[in-house]
Symmetry: C2
Subunit: 119 residues, 2 copies
């Protein structure tokens, strides 16, 4: 729906551990109807979750999609998991958009970042 | 270098926790020389690390690249981190291929997978 290449997209920064990462790696079906609008809506909604730190996503054309949402604590993840609109989107996703996926919830113990100096 | 769309690419399965995820999210420079061959070589090398469970990657054209490597324990991650050829590749990456990146090392505490039944 939206073209993320319009804005400069940068990786979510390395925060001070501990924090949590929700890794969602999926292979999509060929059905795309409604996906863009729902993804955009979820991207807005999640920003209201307390302790939400940011989200990175990438999709190889014809290949894997990966989205990683970062949260300060498990309470935020639980609140997002129970959000009614999010639950409905996930159910619709399993029925229509996802061929398969893996979800990993992980506690970040170490992190660092890099940025080129020459610009 | 290789076209990953030739083979059916599926997400690394949800393993029994605990295990570890190394999340590497990057924005690349426009310099691509040698990247494909090095990425392919690293993808081969990492498979020899004890406890390596698999690797997912995705890249949005013009946008973010995300690679997540899964390991059974921190010892495997440390061994991979210290691998001489890997260190050389990372140094070359910082000098040429990466505009910026974030690295998050995280302990997976919960995971699950989904696969469509209707095929």
């Amino acid at each position: 729906m939206s073209d993320h290449r319009i804005a400069p997209v940068v990786p979510v920064a390395a925060h001070e551990p501990p924090y949590y990462a929700v890794v969602f790696t999926s292979l999509r079906t060929e059905e795309d109807t409604g996906y863009g609008a729902t993804a955009e809506r979820m991207g807005e909604l999640v920003q209201h979750i307390p302790g939400f730190l940011g989200e990175d996503s990438a999709r190889t054309p014809g290949g894997l999609s990966i989205t990683i949402a970062y949260f300060r604590d498990l309470a935020g993840i639980e609140q997002w998991r129970q959000n009614a609109e999010h639950r409905e989107a996930k159910e619709h996703g399993r029925a229509h958009w996802y061929e398969r996926y893996s979800l990993h919830i992980a506690r970040v113990e170490h992190s660092h970042g890099f940025q080129r100096a020459d610009r």
